[in-house]
């Protein structure tokens, strides 16, 4: 930003600074800045308040072995995280280490905002084999690794046991197929009681990305250059959901807008919900869901698949302390750090073998369903500017979910829009 005539820009800055100095009685402007006595100040930005205590403990552990390094956590609201990070990265003031997610990974990597972590891998300090392969792949761009996986989430079929009992239906299990879902949804639906068999919102990670992969379709071509939305298999993955909407076995899109799907599920009147591993902690607290619901693996389509997404810790390319920041990122990806995360139950740590603590943290749910699916997990699709096309999905698919537009036409429209966005990236 701001490559206006340099003179003027500096002028503005000086001007306003002096005005402010003159006007403000107390110095409210931020201070900070590092002392140069060998001490290294690092900043670490995250967005989830619930994970703050775990992150703090990890930091303490790291500082114990690196006494010269001092790390401060910056917590930014989830909604504003990317806005602020992008602004800070633009201004050269992004934090030294921060959380990265799938949709933004390539954007930051491609624009030179992230420090390559190749050395960590070649030196053996970080072993890719320690993390789910599909997850590691999200943070690799043109053959270079930019992030160390932190945690992951997959999707499972949550179901309300009480409603299944009342309808005298067997609980879903790993033998289920799409057909079983449709049949059970029909039997569980009773609009007069406000009960619906399933929630079928147009959510990508929880709903149609999974079924697209299960149908053998794709969202984006492997080379990242073209959309998969015009493929027949992809269409059938989408149609699975619009058919459920059409059959009236799900609350309407409007209802799911007025009241968020997880909360409809928590009201105890919904039979099934394709929900994330991240829902477990909330469902364990809710009065209805803590006793009445359980979870299993996603039903099979043409094949088995589930979308895996997860965060990674990345290092800012312009950090003043690349060595220490990389060491910290490596530690965040270590087994020690993963063990600390697992205890909180908030997320599934990415480090293989540390998930057991998470699975047993809520014994009332069959959480193993989420890790059992790793064998066939597919990475959350992304490109260099994922937002550019992903942000169009909701608006284009919405009418198909409401029944005012045919899904074939919507998918075609999405393919066109996405291909246009992908061309812009090149």
């Amino acid at each position: 930003m701001r490559t206006k005539p340099g003179m003027k820009r500096r002028g503005t800055r000086l001007w306003s600074s002096s005005v402010v100095v003159g006007l403000l009685l107390s110095a409210t402007a931020c201070g900070g800045g590092a002392a140069d006595d060998g001490k290294v100040e690092l900043s670490y930005r995250i967005w989830d308040k619930n994970q703050m205590p775990a992150m703090q403990r990890i930091i303490e552990k790291f500082q114990a072995t690196h006494p010269k390094v001092h790390i401060t956590i910056q917590l930014t609201a989830n909604q504003e995280y990317w806005t602020k990070l992008q602004a800070d990265a633009t201004g050269g003031s992004a934090p030294d280490v921060f959380w990265m997610n799938g949709p933004h990974a390539q954007l930051y990597a491609a624009n030179g905002m992230l420090l390559p972590l190749s050395d960590s891998i070649t030196s053996g300090r970080v072993k890719p084999a320690n993390y789910p392969e599909a997850l590691t792949r999200i943070y690799s761009y043109q053959g270079t690794q930019y992030g160390i996986p932190k945690d992951f989430d997959t999707v499972g079929l949550w179901y309300n046991k009480k409603l299944f009992d009342a309808a005298k239906l067997a609980y879903p299990d790993d033998t289920w197929t799409w057909q079983n879902v449709a049949d059970a949804a029909r039997k569980l639906t009773d609009p007069s009681k406000g009960e619906y068999g399933i929630l079928a919102p147009p959510f990508n990670q929880e709903n149609y990305y999974d079924t697209i992969f299960q149908a053998g379709g794709q969202v984006i071509s492997p080379d990242g250059k073209s959309s998969g939305y015009d493929q027949p298999a992809t269409l059938s993955g989408l149609r699975f959901w619009t058919d459920l909407m059409k059959a009236g076995v799900s609350p309407s899109l409007k209802s799911m807008t007025d009241t968020y799907p997880t909360q409809l599920f928590e009201s105890g009147k919904i039979g099934m919900y394709y929900g994330g591993s991240w829902n477990a902690i909330e469902f364990a607290k809710n009065d209805v869901t803590k006793n009445d619901v359980d979870v299993t693996v996603l039903p099979k389509g043409a094949k088995r698949a589930v979308v895996i997404h997860g965060l990674a810790n990345v290092v800012y390319a312009k950090t003043k302390h690349p060595k220490e920041a990389t060491q910290f990122a490596e530690f965040l990806g270590s087994k020690d750090a993963a063990d600390i995360q697992a205890q909180t139950g908030a997320v599934i740590p990415a480090f293989t073998g540390t998930q057991e603590a998470w699975i047993t943290s809520m014994p009332q749910f069959h959480l193993r369903a989420f890790t059992d699916q790793l064998a066939y997990a597919v990475p959350f699709p992304g490109s260099k500017n994922t937002d550019a096309w992903q942000s169009k999905e909701a608006a284009i698919f919405g009418p198909a979910w409401s029944g005012t537009k045919d899904i074939t036409a919507a998918a075609q429209e999405m393919a066109t829009a996405m291909n246009a966005a992908l061309r812009e990236e090149q």
Binding site: M1, R2, R9, T12, R13, S16, S17, V20, L23, L24, T28, A29, C30, K49, Q74, L75, T76, A77, N78, Q79, E80, Y81, T83, K84, A87, D88, G91, S93, G194, D258, T259, Y260, T262, Q263, L264, E266, S267, G268, N286, D287, V288
Partner: protein
């Protein structure tokens, strides 16, 4: 007053008064009912809010919803931020606007018309036109997520200057003339004579600035991203973003954010109403 000019007029008038009260009371229910519902919802459990048919009164009054707001939002900090931001902007506006307004109303200086024209043009331009550069300036100064970033651009107001100028123009000149003949300089006249006389105008500006500052959303949304540095308006927006449609919690949070202004209004309502009315008659 033509009170009860005819004997037959009395019952008719009484009927008219009753009808007036009926209309006004019905209107009052529409105006206040939502707040009552907000309060009742804030005391329900989540499952009660999604129960059909709706129950009007909570079965058990969940005051814990209010304490939960403290868990999910750094409410104390947000409250303090809002108070400081509002106070900072208001005090600064009172000082700067009144100085400039008096100068425009009374003093002749080179380029005063041109300058006043520029001020007026700012008045016509919507805030969206300032926002991008304001944000970039704030970011350049490292003021994102600071109180300074929230306050400083809001310290200046073309509207406030214009409003107060109208008040100063309406003041009688003779007292000021007398003071000038006694050898007082313009600043002395301003502080000792004009300012005290313009008190209703200052009050109107105070009320409008406080209201605007407390309730404004877009600017704080842009320059504060860390919940700990947000004022209440942006904080509430975040609350809705993260707690989706957990309405009992949202209602509790929104009540906590708005009650201070409502209490201030009820206590100082005469001033509020006069302040608003003044802007209508002076502009």
């Amino acid at each position: 007053m033509p009170d009860g000019t005819t004997v037959a007029g009395r019952p008719a008038r009484r009927l008219g008064t009753a009808a007036t009260h009926l209309v006004l009371a019905a209107g009052a229910v529409v105006m206040v009912g939502p707040f009552v519902w907000q309060f009742l919802t804030s005391l329900k459990t989540f499952s009660e809010t999604t129960h059909v048919p709706l129950t009007f009164l909570p079965s058990e009054w969940q005051w814990s919803n209010y304490s939960q707001v403290f868990d999910v939002l750094p409410f104390r900090q947000m409250f303090l931020t809002t108070v400081l931001m509002t106070a900072g902007r208001t005090i600064a506006q009172l000082v700067f606007c009144s100085l400039a307004a008096y100068a425009f109303a009374r003093l002749r200086f080179r380029g005063n018309n041109l300058l006043f024209g520029l001020f007026l043009s700012v008045l016509m331009v919507p805030g969206q036109l300032f926002l991008i550069p304001q944000y970039l300036i704030v970011q350049d100064l490292g003021w994102v997520n600071t109180l300074a970033g929230l306050i400083v651009p809001g310290m200046f107001s073309a509207f406030g200057t214009f409003l107060l100028r109208q008040f100063f123009l309406a003041l009688p000149r003779d007292v000021e003339e007398a003071a000038r003949l006694d050898g007082a300089n313009p600043l002395q006249i301003f502080f000792r004579i004009a300012l005290p006389l313009a008190r209703p105008g200052l009050l109107a500006l105070t009320i409008l600035t406080v209201l605007w500052s407390w309730n404004d959303l877009m600017y704080p949304l842009v320059v504060s991203t860390d919940p700990a540095a947000m004022p209440l308006s942006a904080g509430l927006a975040t609350l809705q973003g993260e707690h989706m449609t957990d309405y009992s919690l949202l209602m509790a949070g929104s009540i906590m954010a708005t009650v201070p202004m409502i209490v201030a209004f009820v206590v100082l309502q005469r001033h509020f109403i006069q302040g608003i009315a003044h802007t209508g008659s002076k502009s």
